[in-house]
């Protein structure tokens, strides 16, 4: 079903890494559709494969299997050379503003690099003009034109990263933890900037983070990942108001809320830690930490995503039971 409004579609995306201990399931059968101008938040703890998913979408990492369809075009098997042209349409913002900028280049060089590379502008006057206007767009004072990353603070560096991504007029930006290295007050500045850019130029974001409060604020849809798989996906409001998967519930309950006094909700903690993603058995991956396990969870195969209500998908054996209870 071709849908002109869908910018990115990912079908059954899989990435395995071979390790000495066995097959590491970094991304294991992830599927989603993302509409133009919308934001999909991907949340999960470290090692759940959210960053690998983001990088595989951009083909910075080659997928093991699955399909990536961008703007109706299947880019899964495009060569590195072919992808290079595509880089103008899909970009990335990195987590660490300290290591994602070459320390030996000035701000001018850094921002103009993608402009030069893709020949967006050709004369040096045009390049300078575009660099300056990008700096204005991301709120970076023009006086830093000749400064170097080590002379700037984290927030300003992250603005450089955003300007570099914007330089080629992309449609899609994958943001990999863009604010987690920043202080709260700076974090708010950057989040506001990203949101304003979306409003102004209609950008589409894949927003990867471990911080649920940020994702709630920022995303239209949220997908929760656990050990390489999506366990729940829903609209942001729905997911936070009505989480179904036990892991989502546990994650939500674990956020330390800045509330003191009687309004503070009681927390429910889960025990145990994330198991190793190497050589996973075919059963629910959350089994060992889940406190709502059914008998069949230990033996039955890995649950797949099922739509429990419009646009709300959950992968859990519990929902079968709930359905039966309703009947």
């Amino acid at each position: 079903m071709p849908d002109s409004n869908t910018l990115l579609e990912v079908r059954d995306l899989t990435k395995f890494f071979d390790t000495p201990k066995g097959k590491l399931h970094a991304v294991d059968g992830v599927s989603f559709k993302l509409e133009r101008g919308k934001t999909l938040g991907i949340v999960g703890e470290s090692g759940c494969g959210k960053s690998t998913t983001g990088r595989t979408i951009l083909k910075l990492i080659e997928p093991t299997s699955g399909q990536i369809i961008f703007n109706g075009e299947d880019i899964t098997n495009y060569s590195v050379r072919h992808m290079r042209r595509f880089r103008t349409q899909m970009q990335m913002i990195f987590q660490d503003p300290f290591s994602s900028l070459d320390p030996r280049q000035s701000i001018m060089q850094l921002i103009s690099e993608p402009i030069r590379e893709h020949k967006i502008c050709t004369t040096s006057a045009e390049i300078a003009k575009r660099t300056l206007s990008l700096m204005d767009t991301v709120g970076l004072a023009r006086r830093f034109l000749n400064s170097y990353p080590h002379e700037l603070d984290g927030g300003r560096r992250q603005r450089i990263g955003i300007a570099r991504a914007l330089a080629v007029n992309p449609q899609l930006i994958v943001c990999d933890e863009p604010v987690s290295a920043l202080d709260v007050s700076i974090q708010a500045q950057i989040l506001n900037l990203l949101r304003q850019l979306q409003r102004d130029i209609g950008l589409t974001y894949v927003f990867i983070t471990h911080d649920l409060s940020v994702v709630r604020y920022f995303s239209d849809d949220v997908a929760v990942m656990y050990l390489g798989q999506m366990v729940e996906k829903a609209s942001s409001d729905n997911l936070f108001a009505n989480p179904v998967h036990p892991y989502t519930k546990a994650l939500l309950s674990a956020i330390p809320l800045p509330i003191v006094g009687k309004d503070k909700p009681v927390r429910k903690l889960i025990t145990g830690e994330v198991t190793s993603p190497v050589n996973l058995p075919d059963r629910c991956r959350f089994f060992s930490r889940c406190d709502m396990c059914l008998e069949k969870c230990s033996s039955a195969c890995n649950p797949t995503l099922a739509e429990i209500e419009p646009k709300h998908f959950v992968a859990c054996h519990l929902i079968d039971k709930e359905k039966k209870d309703v009947q």
Binding site: E45, S46, D153, G154, G155, D183, V184, S185, I186, Q187, A188, Q189, L191, N192, R195, H210, L212, S213, V214, R216, Y217, F218, S236, D237, A250, L251, S253, A254, I255, P256, L257, P258, I259, V260, G261, K264, R267, L269, I270, T271, E273, V274
Partner: protein
Amino acid sequence: MEKVLEVKDLVVRYETDDGIVHAINGLSFSIDKERTLGLVGETGAGKTTAALSILNLVPDPPGVIAGGSIILDGKDVLSMGEKELERMRGNDVAMIFQDPMTALNPVIPVGQQIAESLEIHEGLSREEAMEKAKQMLEQVGISASRAYDYPHQLSGGMKQRVVIAIALACQPSLLIADEPTTALDVTIQAQVLSLMKGLIDNSHMSMLLITHDLGVVAEVCDDVAVMYAGRIVEIGSADDIFNHTLHPYTEGLFDSLPNLKARGEDLIPIKGLMPDPMHLPQGCSFHPRCPYATEACKTREPELKKAEGSHYVACIRYNESSFCLRRDKDAR
């Protein structure tokens, strides 16, 4: 109430080649027995320097403790000799650092690392110490059979539990935790925080928790001190700070947090950046970023003044009868 720690007018500078970094400029606070104080602030506020000063561990050079006093259990830390300091660290005060990966020695089994500090500080024999170490591991939720594991065999959360066990082994009267859960995932962070809280309550210790995360503070702390540019701008009970905010900076921190906001609404960040600690602004160091600043704020340095009970605030506009923060206006 009995005070475990009292810091008064502490001034710490780093004298570097490029100039003098004013890290701490007249810091005063105290921690009562069996209370937990959360020290909140952003990068560069001087939180970690404050913690290092309490242990008299500020790297010298370039660090210079230029004034003030730090009274721990009735003794002045800053006038102690090296021998006394060594006895104090670990026995009376223990510290937990942010990164559990580097806090443990990679070539010594974790049980032995706990036992070692028991041998040194408590004078236990090797066997007794190992026995106690295993008990400690059980207490922090790690099975005693893992006492012979090396740090790399444990996950990040478990390593931080081991670090906590080491810190608590000698039952210090004060525990300093510098961003103890920042490197951990949320579900693990929640586990570690509740573990720490339980242990502190059971052993009647006091804690100084340093963090940038107001959520963590709300979870664990009885009292809260908000730090900005090397000074306390507001201090009080958790209820005072969270529900009766008085300082514009504290308000700015709360407004920057996305989790309290409904979707779609813009965040209200604090404008501008943390001041360069080499060139702090005149008067109130927050005035260039403060939406309420007046002419007087540019020249007069505000003192920490009592507002109500245990609630203190350093803002010259607080005394104006008509002055009221945006939060309170909204509430009305």
